[in-house]
Amino acid sequence: MNRTIFDKIWDAHRVAGAPGGLDLILIDRILLHERTGGVALRGLEERGLPVFAPDQAFAVMDHIIDTRPGRTDHTLMPTGTDFIRATRDAAGRAGIRLFDLDDPRQGIVHVVSPELGIVLPGATLICPDSHTCSQGALGALAWGIGSTEAEHALATATLRVRRPPRMRVRVDGELAPGVTAKDLALALLGRFGVGGGAGHVVEYGGRAIRALDVEGRLTLCNMGTEFAAFTAIIAPDEKVIDYLRGRDFAPAGEQWDAAIDHWMGLASDPDAEFDIEHVFDARDVAPMVSWGTSPQQVAPIDGVVPAHDAETRQDSDDARDRALAYMGLTPGDRLAGLPIDAAFIGSCTNSRIGDLRRAAALLKGRRVADGVRAICVPGSTQVKRQAEAEGLDAIFQAAGFEWRESGCSMCFFAGGESFGAQERVISSTNRNFESRQGPGTRTHLASPETVAASAIAGRIADPRRVAA
C-alpha cells in the first residue's frame, strides 16, 4: 500500500462523490467560538435547519471575551457582549455543549480541544477558524473553514471538499538547545514563504518532528495556515497516545484499546506518494524573530533586517518597503537590541503549560525592564490552574507580568484592548499583519522564551544568553 495518513483518513470519511469531482466528507467534530459560531448557528436557524449531530459539536468562548481578572459578559470590544450572548443562546437552542466563561474547561478552542481529548487521531474536525490546522498535531484531519461551510457541516454532518494535494516536509536532525517548535515554524515560513503550503495537506515528519512533544507539534501545525496549507498533520505515535490517555472526551476502556489499534495504523505507508516533498534541516535553525508584517519576513535573532538584494527572495520590493515603513526599520538594523514597548505571551500558538514553564524558568528571580508592558494569557483555564498549582503565576507576577484569565486576548485586535500605534511588541502569537494587535502596533513574532528574555532586557534578546 502507498497511502499517506491523509489518504487513509480521507478515504474512511468519503461518503460519496459530489458534483464537479468534489467529495462529500463525513465530519466527526465541529468546533465553534463566539466570534463566528453565533453567526453560523443563527444562519442555520434562519433557514429552519436543525443541527444534524449536536453531540459531536462543541462551542467555546475565547475570542472576544475579557481576559482581565473578574471578567463578566461585558468586554472592551464594543458590541462584544452581543456575540457572547448570541453564541450562548444559539448553542443552548441547538443542544451544543458550550464551555462558557466560568467553565473550568474554558479556553482557546485549539488549546481546549486537544487537552480535553475532543480532537482524536484519524478524526475529521472543522472549525470556522483558520488555526484549526493546529490540531493536526494529534494525527487528525483538522481544517479551518468559513461560516457558510460551518452551516453546511452543522446541517449535514458533512462537507463538500475537493481532495487536496499532499506535501511532505521532512525535518531532519534535531533542534539545538534553546530552539523551539515556534522557531522551526518561523524558519520554515522564511525558507518556503507564506505561499509555500499552496493548498496542500502538509505532513510534517522526520527525526526533528518525532522528537517534538505534543505541545511543540501543536505549535508547529498551528502556523500551517500562515503557510497557506489546506492543513498540517503529523502521524500519531506513543507520545500522542500518552497525551490523550484519560482526557475528558478521549475514549476509555475497551474503546480505548480499539482506538489505539486504529490510530497506530494511520501513519503514512513507507512508499506513500506525495505531490511535493521538501527536506529541511533542523540543525540550521536559530531562535527566529519576524521583522516585517508577514510571517515569512523573519530572520535569526542574531541577524539583521535583510537588504533588498538578500537571498530571502520571498517578497516583492514593494511589499518589503511597506513592511519596513510600517515597522519603522531599515535594512541592516540588528534585531537583537531593538527596544520594545511590550511583551505578550499567549495565543493558540504558544500558551500551553510547557510554554509557560519555559518562559517562567527564564523569568524566575528577574524583573521586566522599566517601561515594558508585559502580559501573560494562559491558553485555557486548565492551563491557568495548572500553572497556579506550580507557582508559575507568582513568578510571572513577581517579574512584572500581568497574569490574565484565558482567551485569545491581545493576539488580535477586536476593537477593545490594544498595544497602541507604533508600539513595538515581542509576541508569542502567529500573525504580524499590519494592525493585528491594534491599530499601528508593530508585532515581532517569536517563541515564549524569546519574549521572556526580551521583556527582561527591554530589547529583543536571545534567550540562549539568559542563563536559566
Partner: protein, 210 residues
C-alpha cells in the same frame, strides 16, 4: 444565490500581494452577529483617515471617483490570507464586488467567495499588471468577466483566460445552494454514519468522563 454568468463593470486595481482578511474587514468593524452591515467597514484601515472614523483617505483607490461603483476587484497574490472570517467576503459582496481577479487566493477565502457567489478568478501576475495598466489608462475603467468562457477582458479587446475550480464554476453559474443539495443525500449520510459507528464507536460516544 444569484447566478453569475457574464459581468461588464467598473474594476478597481488594488495591486498588493498578501491582502489579508483583517485589511479587508478589520476585526473592530465586525460589530454585529450578522452577515450584514459590513460594507462601510470594507478596507477601513486604508479607506478612512483615522481608526473608527469615516473621513475618506483621498489617495486610496476605492475613494477615487473614477472607481466609484466598482464591481470587480483586481489584486495581488495570496489574496484573502489570514483569519478565516467570512465577513471579508460578506463585506466585499455588500459593497458591490462580484468578482476578484488575482494571481492566487488563500484556500479558505476562496471557498468563502464561492459560497457567497463571488467569483475568484485566477490569472498570472503579468496578466494582473497588464489589466492594471489597462484600467489606469481607461475611462471609465471597465472589465468584463465571462464565467462560462472563463475569460477576463478589457474593452479594447485584450482577453485572458482565467483559472477557476470546475465545480466552483458550475455552482456559481447555477447560483447553486450546496446545503439543500447535500440534504437530499441525508439517507446516504445516515447509512454511512451507521457503518462508521460500528467501526469507530469512540467518535460517537461524546459523554465526558472527566
Amino acid at each position: 444565490m444569484r447566478p453569475f454568468t457574464r459581468l461588464s463593470a467598473r474594476a478597481v486595481p488594488l495591486i498588493r500581494d498578501n491582502v489579508d482578511t483583517d485589511a479587508i474587514i478589520p476585526s473592530r468593524e465586525m460589530r454585529s452577529v450578522s452577515k450584514k452591515g459590513l460594507a462601510d467597514g470594507l478596507f477601513a484601515g486604508w479607506r478612512y483617515t483615522r481608526i473608527g472614523g469615516r473621513d475618506p483617505q483621498a489617495e486610496f483607490v476605492l475613494n477615487q471617483p473614477r472607481y466609484a461603483g466598482a464591481e470587480i476587484l483586481v489584486s495581488g497574490a495570496n489574496f484573502g490570507c489570514g483569519s478565516s472570517r467570512e465577513h471579508a467576503v460578506w463585506a466585499l459582496a455588500e459593497y458591490g464586488f462580484r468578482a476578484v481577479v488575482a494571481p492566487s487566493f488563500n484556500p479558505i477565502f476562496q471557498g468563502n467567495c464561492i459560497a457567497n457567489g463571488v467569483v475568484p478568478a485566477i490569472v498570472d501576475a503579468s496578466t494582473i499588471a497588464a489589466i492594471a495598466a489597462g484600467l489606469e489608462g481607461a475611462d471609465p475603467p471597465m472589465l468584463t468577466i465571462d464565467l462560462a468562457a472563463q475569460t477576463v477582458s478589457l474593452p479594447g479587446g485584450a482577453t485572458w483566460t482565467f483559472a477557476i475550480d470546475a465545480e466552483a464554476r458550475e455552482a456559481l453559474l447555477a447560483g447553486r445552494d450546496p446545503i439543500a443539495q447535500t440534504l437530499q443525500m441525508a439517507g446516504q449520510i445516515r447509512a454511512f454514519r451507521a457503518g462508521d459507528m460500528a467501526a469507530r464507536p469512540w467518535i460517537y460516544d461524546t459523554v465526558a468522563r472527566g
